[in-house]
Symmetry: D3
Subunit: 224 residues, 6 copies
């Protein structure tokens, strides 16, 4: 796994301790020859602006755009901290991502267009660039059959196919897991034959071990 | 319904007789004070380039982009034929659509980004511009419970909610109706509270009657 | 004063109560025939990202860019809440501001380029569009000879020339008033012969009275 | 001839058998160290949209634009099939072609602006990049003194100067050879001192032999 | 002739006396309801930069680009002096010209792409916008059968068809009249059925009389 | 000093003898492994267009833009003469400069936005790219305590801190040195910890010796 897409939960950007660790870890991976596209979520910043926007009566398309701008601000922050290796300005669609990638630099993006989560963006970018592995640094350590914070019988899934996961998602209604698991992102992952490795963003070591040793993922979601 | 989104099936652009009729009809509506955003499909041109592309091993994201470029070529053809009232160049995302709309001219778009059908684009644009009605000039005259060309028991739906339609879509697997009915487009329609009026693109009079008299839709899909 | 530039302190966007009031007030002014360019500051959002960025070792040019993106997110929020009259997407330099203004819609911008405060942007835009009055909705109600929160002898200035104000600014070093009073913004105001009306953003009525009755400014800064 | 411009007739994109051969040949040349800018014609797709557009009363400038978009769709198809080495998105003018070339990747373009054939584009790009040889994979195997399909006395020209060719072109009026031989393209070739090697696009081996062995061109058109 | 294209010789921008007259005349025409696209030449500025560039060994495509940038600087100067009615920024291709025109403002452009004179640009823009009359404020008062400054038998042409003019141009080789008379511009004028009215830019009154009274053109060049 | 910013006085572009020397010198430095961003001034061309523009009543923001376009024309001329190593098109803001720099080519820029001198641009670009040395090829050989052409007691400064220089600038009012010494540029230099090496642009050898031997600067301005 020398080339992969790295999806970073927006949660990371709310955490003053974690962010420097990830900046250093990404640089270290880069220096060691790993190549990646990083996709950043919007996190609490996106949620706050969407909440204010909703109270002002803004429609959902334009609320999505606020979330996208928040995720791009996070991408800009990360790329600025890595400006010796990262591409700037932040690409804003598939086309500009492709031309940024062509320069050989570290590419970092946020969201693209209303109606698409950053998880979907991560899949589309992976597919367009022919990247077969996506590491999802999520605000949870793995995929469970139900919400482990509420359901003591929740079972952690070590390995699951996208089809199986789609079946589980249909039968339950856990709010707030949208970012990790929306069906559109999964359907792109399936057609693009992308394997998703879920690790907790609160544990940077999981990412390091996954990349360098091939272990450490909470859940591996396979295209078939 | 003085302001609406007009989704035109790509099928229209394969038909030398229908296209001039629609050009004249759109101009006539415009002159009579109707305001609309037109979204064009990619039709057989999109299918042909995607088919060639697939045989060349191109990935699905880039195949989507070929389809998007095909739909934009159709949009450009239509806008050129209406260049006295239409906005050029063809907007390529929500942002450029908003600024084109701000000029007060007829706005015509094709697809936006990989991973989104032109039906989804039509919903997102409607939502962003606060447009509550979408006329879908489709390559079929109405929504049926199953494919009427194959199933003699297929029942035509005069009026259906998005929720009901989603239920029907889940339980069947009719290929080739993707353009009209994909669940992502429907979910945006639902959150945007958009009513969809399905008419046959092979019968321009249905569109005229729908706009001027409020009748003629094969199926009305309501957000609730 | 039918046409003016409205500089809104970023402070406004931290205040869930004030923002809706300003949204309504701007729409009301627009409906009554007032025409304006709104320039939004970055506020606490800008400060937070700049602070994180500085701790990550980001250089000042790129920190400025983070602040600019924050101010544009505020501009996007406001324009989305006024999307029936406001221009979108948010212009990002003098050129795109000019073309947005040409559409006759309400134009809202954030920052432009590193090395320029949003106050400077407000002056440059006023100058380029031939606007002679700028209303500065600041996080203070007027200009004082020194910081009134610390210095009981601070004297409020009702009317002051830019030259006099420059003199006062040179002789003191009040931190945190940068946004209101940086010398570059003032020098552009002087060459552009722009009169600056300072009102408190915490008191929307001051803005309403200033526009409709010509009174209410805490300080009037005149070009000569 | 390690660096050259490769003009591909739009005819190629109507031919399901030829296209994969050219995709492989271009990749093989690239891997062997050859560097090229590829310019694609619009072919039958361009002709079809221009024909429909003309029947709809579209003016010639906008018809040219339809042809340009068709040629860019062909360029996009080819670049997507070569996305591991080709630059995306497709450059649309001299400026974006220069910046794409600067990345060191394979650059593929279609048309640029109304009033210019893709042959002219090929000459302008060659000139701007300092490329002295252009291989024209045309829908004919060589230049003839008149149309060989109609005139049994037509003489094949092995080597001809641009001046001589201009003279021949003036004295005859063969329709349909516009793409290969328009005087504007030739005049740019002359000022840019570009040698044109005409080979038949129906015979990919001619291109391979020309590049690897220096033989195989049907006609060599020299600047003087 | 309420709508026309106005081609201004670059010569005008070398003349401190003429330029203000034209600024006022264009505003006066605008206020009186005339609508126009103005195309500015590059004049002596273009010639100077092209000359320096040629001595530095720059290729002809990039020299053309220097001339284009010079013509755009002239366009920017004129548009800035008319910034209350003119569109800014200066459009740089057919697409941006169309969207500028859609705003209803005065549109001013310079050159577009290498390989095209500003005369060709004027024809393409006229054609794309459906404008049938072009006023050419040239650095000569009319078209002559040969150069009147050198040939005492030169005959002034009051009215000439494009075909006749092409015939005359082929049979002589007057250097320095390129700007007025290049065959590519004429061929676009012919296909676009554009009538060209040549007046001397040194005599602003000729333009005023032509527009307001329909007389005053030195030569009228008709498409057939 | 393997990487530096090179600020070239616009004066250079008025001098037919100097320009080729600088073109050769920059290529020679590049070939020898030096990496640089070049920032070109607008020179007499900028002054001429600003003067004409002012006589036409153009506002200062738009006059600044004319000066910026003039400086970009100079940048385009230089980049065209170095088109084998330089990036084209000319970047127009910090973002496009960063992406041009990412290609590894020689980056040449002119001005960015109204209200900023090209000296300020040079500082912002240096800061954004982490470049710590700026060579200022100025139209004077060093910084003096007052204007040496008028004041026989003027003292040449070999080494001066930015703070000291700011003090000197405040206490005198030498017109025409704006380009070299404006306080905004100096304040960015200070925050970016950039050392400025002033050499005379009339003496290219000073630049060569400064780069290769570390001597030859008329004045060294240090951040502290």
């Amino acid at each position: 796994m020398k080339t992969f897409t790295l999806k970073l939960s927006g949660h990371l950007f709310d955490n003053a301790d974690l962010l420097p660790t990830y900046v250093n870890l990404i640089r270290e991976l880069w220096v060691n020859g790993y190549r990646m596209v990083v996709v950043t979520g919007g996190g609490s910043l996106a949620r706050r602006y969407i909440e204010i926007g909703r109270s002002l009566g803004i429609n959902e398309s334009l609320l999505d755009m606020l979330g996208i701008l928040a995720s791009r601000l996070n991408a800009q922050l990360l790329a600025s901290a890595l400006s010796d290796i990262a591409y700037l300005p932040i690409p804003t669609d598939i086309n500009t991502t492709l031309s940024a990638w062509a320069t050989g630099r570290l590419v970092i993006v946020g969201g693209f267009q209303p109606g698409q989560s950053t998880a979907t963006v991560a899949m589309l970018v992976s597919e367009a660039l022919g990247i077969k592995n996506l590491v999802d640094c999520a605000n949870i350590d793995a995929v469970y059959t139900s919400d482990p914070r509420r359901d003591p019988t929740a079972k952690r899934l070590e390995r699951v196919t996208i089809d199986e996961l789609m079946g589980i998602l249909k039968s339950r209604t856990v709010a707030g897991t949208y970012d990790l698991l929306d069906p559109w992102a999964l359907s792109i992952a399936q057609r693009g034959k992308i394997t998703i490795h879920v690790v907790s963003c609160n544990n940077p070591d999981a990412l390091r071990r996954l990349i360098s040793e091939g272990v450490g993922a909470g859940t591996v979601i396979t295209p078939s």
